[in-house]
Point group: C2
Chain length 189, copies 2
């Protein structure tokens, strides 16, 4: 029964990713030991590393998974909505934990050259979704048409990165709603 | 001759800050050991800590010094110009090294709650300079007048933080000029 087996594998994989997400968010990449990953997922290291080659692969799968969900929200509602969700801690997965993964990605991009290279290929997702959404908005006549879509996408990603960093530094964020209104307005017609 | 003595003290203080700036930029806060600070400044630990109580005080003085210089550029040319300088590695002090200090501040804000509190009082400088500049721009009729100055200042600071983070992650920045044009235009009339 290969179908049942595949369902079982998928379920198990999701279980591992969910546990690992909160574990990485709480302890950071280095602090997420194999023992802590076992506790967070409720599975043995054997079971975990049957699905993922090593901790690095697990983290990359998780980050990619979150980026894909984020890309889905972008496709539906745009990158500014992702930022609004972030502000209200309602991420496409489980809010603050999604922010946790994103922060770990940012941190490792700053400090780990190997990770930077591995991540580069995977982060295309979000940029592609952002550009597709912008193109659709332009075709609908909602987007300003005097600025290149690549520039608008780079602009929105820069603001997102600023927001992630702002939240990571624990700075007050309750007054950022009007700032995001301004961002949204500045890409619209 | 108290005047000469004060000049001497000021010169020595600047010498220490310049050496410490490159040392922190190269090795990070934790990696900037007292021995490395001695090498970078060309002074003994006795001389260094005659001027600054401890490493933490030295770093804070440096960060404050850089923020004050940045505030001067903001007052003269606006925060967008600071971002353009950052893009071209021509900071108000010595370019890349100024970015280094800024990155260390961002990192420690994320990871060190005590530092966060100590820094909060000192970072007012930049916000105050940004707001003063915006107010002047508004009075000159260059600034849009349908959005509160606090919102515009928060917006520019968010983009700056995004840019700092972007550069820290080693992402390509040569295509960000048009993005900064868009940012500048979005606060203007």
């Amino acid at each position: 029964m290969p179908r049942v087996s595949q369902d079982h594998l998928d379920t198990r994989r999701r279980q591992i990713l969910a546990g690992a997400r909160s574990c990485f968010a709480r302890h950071g990449y280095e602090g997420a030991t194999v023992r802590r990953l076992e506790e967070a997922t409720g599975l043995s290291r054997g079971a975990i590393f049957h699905h993922f080659k090593d901790k690095e692969s697990l983290f990359l799968a998780l980050a990619e998974d979150d980026a894909a969900r984020m890309a889905d929200v972008v496709a539906d509602q745009g990158l500014v909505q992702v930022m609004r969700d972030l502000l209200h801690h309602e991420g496409p997965s489980t809010g603050v934990e999604w922010l946790g993964t994103r922060l770990e990605v940012s941190r490792r991009l700053r400090t780990d050259r190997d990770f930077r290279e591995r991540w580069a290929q995977r982060s295309e997702h979000l940029t592609a979704a952002t550009k597709a959404r912008l193109k659709w908005q332009r075709d609908s006549g909602n987007l300003r048409d005097d600025v290149d879509i690549d520039v608008l996408a780079a602009y929105l990603e820069l603001v997102l990165e600023g927001l992630v960093s702002h939240l990571a530094m624990g700075l007050p964020a309750d007054d950022l709603g009007p700032v995001l209104d301004l961002v949204e307005e500045s890409v619209r017609r």
